[in-house]
Symmetry: D2
Subunit: 116 residues, 4 copies
């Protein structure tokens, strides 16, 4: 379980204590998610992580991955909190949409979903 | 609450049914998070969302925001599931790190945290 | 003038001398462009650069902007060189396409081009 | 050769005719570069372009790659024009920096440059 309500409250008081709420516009938080996603991606810029999951066991890489994933998740929770969006509900809805869009029998073994 | 364990199981069987597990390398999932973050950011490419949260009330924009947030969250959950990473734990750890890194009294009202 | 042919040749021998050609796949170079674009964006994550161009005169920021712009340009030139794409030709073609897509009289003063 | 001065002039009058200059802040142009880089990356989200350059010969993909590369280049030229940055000069300076940072004998055949 991710206790996003509690994390959101912590982030709220974190921002309040620093008077950072003024900077948390939709545009700035979307920017932050993108910046952090770029930092995660940088860890896999060349060969790493191309074949499988063994590459991420190494502890120095692992802790950097964890930090970037956490950053993305926290900005996501902050965005949803400010916008009044229920993350669990939209995740379920998106899975239902994907099930319709990519019927198993038609997309089996193909990664061309984004190109058609 | 986000039931990430249950969502992760659904994503697992979703991938299994389409034989997509082969494509879910660390590099490809990090790429996917970045691509979806870019699609969220595109909604705020120009003036929108610069001032405050009123811009995201409009229903057509709102549903696109929800879809992009959901995509990012689902790829995040999928990545963590494949890597054996506990999202709640890393989020709590990151908040603790941030509290140390940005003492309230020193960073009050300043958005220069990333630049110094 | 940007002497992209000469820069491309320099990048070729740079890669050859380090045996890096093997890493310069389309996917890895597209990843690199995205990672560097994220680093540029990070400089504008919060308030900076929101109002106008005065923010980028400050010399420490300016030299970081220049490094990120250069990185993006060099990966762009490298990608085009590997793919046999003429950057000047595609830039001209894209401007012609944009002129058709956004007739001046219809889009004057509106930044909603991406949303319709 | 890329005639960036001439392209910059065309982009200036393009923006003027649409009264878009107001939207071309450093932050918005950095955002645009990142958004377009994400669209390029999306073409390589899964298997495509992982092995080599044969994947980009296919004409439908090729024309999409060309459009995304052109978008990135045009926003780069627009940013540099607004900021008064000489793209050729910064590209040369960056190559010199990279030559120092990655001595050929030490980095031969290794793609770990970003990770150590």
């Amino acid at each position: 379980m991710i206790d996003n309500e509690k994390l959101a409250l912590t982030l709220r008081s974190f921002a309040r204590a620093r008077d950072w709420d003024q900077f948390h516009t939709p545009k700035n938080l979307a920017t932050s998610i993108s910046v952090e996603a770029g930092e995660l991606l940088e860890l896999f810029q060349w060969s790493r992580g191309q074949k499988g999951w063994d590459d991420v066991i190494d502890s120095s890489i692992r802790s950097r991955i964890e930090e970037e994933l956490a950053d993305i998740l926290l900005y996501l929770i902050r965005f949803a909190d400010k916008a009044g969006i229920d993350l669990q509900a939209i995740a379920e809805r998106k899975i239902a949409l994907n099930a319709e869009k990519y019927p198993a029998e038609r997309f089996r073994g193909s990664d061309r979903k984004y190109d058609e």
